[in-house]
Symmetry: C2
Subunit: 305 residues, 2 copies
């Protein structure tokens, strides 16, 4: 039995679900190839190989009328794709991100495509392609004919990054405050505020949740801008900040406490529709974010020298 590709396996599973629904009923014919293709978001070619497979297994039969579901699929007919490799791009992506998150790639570190390829089980072309894509975050860079490296900090980095973020987020904030009273955001913000309070009431046990809250809050604000470009670059900025925060664990709890309170202040002002207070609160919050980032950067630079 030949190995099926990931795409085919996944599609077979989806198709089996459909077969299960109709098999035995009085309307036991599947819809047309094209309809299935559109629905499952693959080409008709793929649908046909899938149908071919299921036909071999005796689950489906093509006749003059169409594709009839012969029997209900068994558990064993399904493919286990949880362990399966999925796309190569996903493989290398999750591998690379795990390296980043485990702190194996500090600023200034150099690494080779070949090494990543070997360790992740991908080809160098795949790896390269992924790295090029990833480089839009500005965390890695590469000169021709030489290796990649994690970008180094320098004095201006934190300052400039936060300035950039501030400019965009302020704009988003203003536009957010301009929205209708019954827009969906407000409900969301209230929920976020509630969650903040809940975490605060049990801070010592739940302070690890603050980064998540942070992400949710900033995402909500940013969506308020209703601008695809702002959103896009916001994504980049968030990622970069998160990457840099991960060193410098000491004092983290204290920092998170400060952030939590700043968030609550900001959320309260927002929900009160107080423009001036919101702007002030956001400014304060971003300023302390800058200090944190600065602290991280100096700590890493000292370490590596």
């Amino acid at each position: 039995m030949k190995n099926k590709s990931y795409l085919v396996q996944k599609t077979i599973n989806l198709m089996l679900d459909k077969v299960k629904d109709i098999a035995g009923s009085n309307e036991s014919y599947l819809s047309s190839d094209l309809a299935l293709a559109t629905e499952l978001d693959v080409s008709r070619t793929t649908i046909r190989t899938v149908i071919g497979e299921l036909e071999e297994k005796g689950i489906i039969k093509r006749d003059s009328i169409g594709k009839r579901a012969v029997r209900k699929p068994k558990k064993s007919d399904y493919y286990d794709i949880s362990t399966s490799s999925s796309t190569k791009e996903e493989v290398i992506q999750s591998y690379f991100l795990s390296l980043i998150n485990s702190g194996k790639l500090l600023p200034g570190t150099r690494f080779s495509e070949l090494e990543l390829a070997k360790q992740s089980g991908c080809n160098t072309v795949t790896v390269r392609e992924f790295l090029v894509k990833f480089s839009r975050f500005g965390l890695i860079e590469k000169d021709p004919r030489s290796q990649w490296q994690m970008v180094k900090f320098d004095d201006g980095f934190a300052e400039e990054l936060i300035e950039f973020r501030k400019v965009l987020e302020m704009r988003a904030l203003v536009k957010l405050l301009d929205q209708d009273k019954d827009a969906a955001v407000w409900g969301e913000l209230e929920q976020i505020l509630a969650d903040h309070k809940s975490v605060k009431s049990n801070f010592n046990k739940r302070y690890q949740e603050v980064p998540d809250l942070d992400a949710r809050l900033h995402l909500a604000i940013q969506k308020g801008a209703n601008n695809r470009f702002i959103n896009q670059f916001f994504e980049v900025v968030s990622f970069v900040c998160h990457y840099h925060y991960q060193w410098k664990k000491e004092g983290e709890k204290e920092r998170l406490k400060v952030a939590l309170n700043e968030h609550i202040e900001l959320l309260t002002s927002l929900l009160a529709r107080d423009v001036a207070a919101s702007v002030r609160a956001l400014e304060l919050h971003l300023d302390s974010a800058e200090r944190t980032l600065m602290a991280c950067s100096t700590s890493v630079n000292n370490e590596s020298s």
Copy 2:
């Protein structure tokens, strides 16, 4: 005689220049391999193959002391690299940009990697890699297993793009105005203003130069921000605007006239250090840029439907 690679040819030429300077003088030894490598920005391996070449040609001789320049290089020793292919990435890049600039790739157009590869003489892998890199401009996009396509306009596109640009450029403007009176920018801006006036005085013949002036002006402002992130995204935005301006040729001359005058207004306010007036002028200018962009977008969308 084997073909030398582009890099080696280029490096040989640079090395010949160095040899020319020292040959015949009383200090006719070249510096160490490593020093040369660092200076010419290639690896020592490349330096050594270059030295090897020049040794064969009798220009350089290695002895126990080092690498001695034996004779001055002749014209014929140099390689002609102007026609040479350079890197494949440059090849595909210039080919692709030429397609864009000649208007063969309108929004919504789909195109295949294979086709580009054939026509540019590159491999599909190289093409793919370039396109991935290029996609950071947001002008092209691609779903897995399907072709690339130029992104389509929609209603919000122009509006959101200009809003984004405005936010960033306003920030840059403010920081620019905050700079020292004797900073280099001011001289540059004066030069730009002078060039504007010169073009204006002979507008009918020279109106084609306005886009260049536009680029120079906005670049100068943007550099004023002194922020790598702002600069980076500014680059993206400029490129995108430029791309979209190229359709809709009718009325162009009139639009350029308006732009020219807006530029002069802005430059004058800037040089007078009048913050309020500068902001107002920039706002006006960007608003008319938005109108232009809108006009372009609707014109293209109608065409393609």
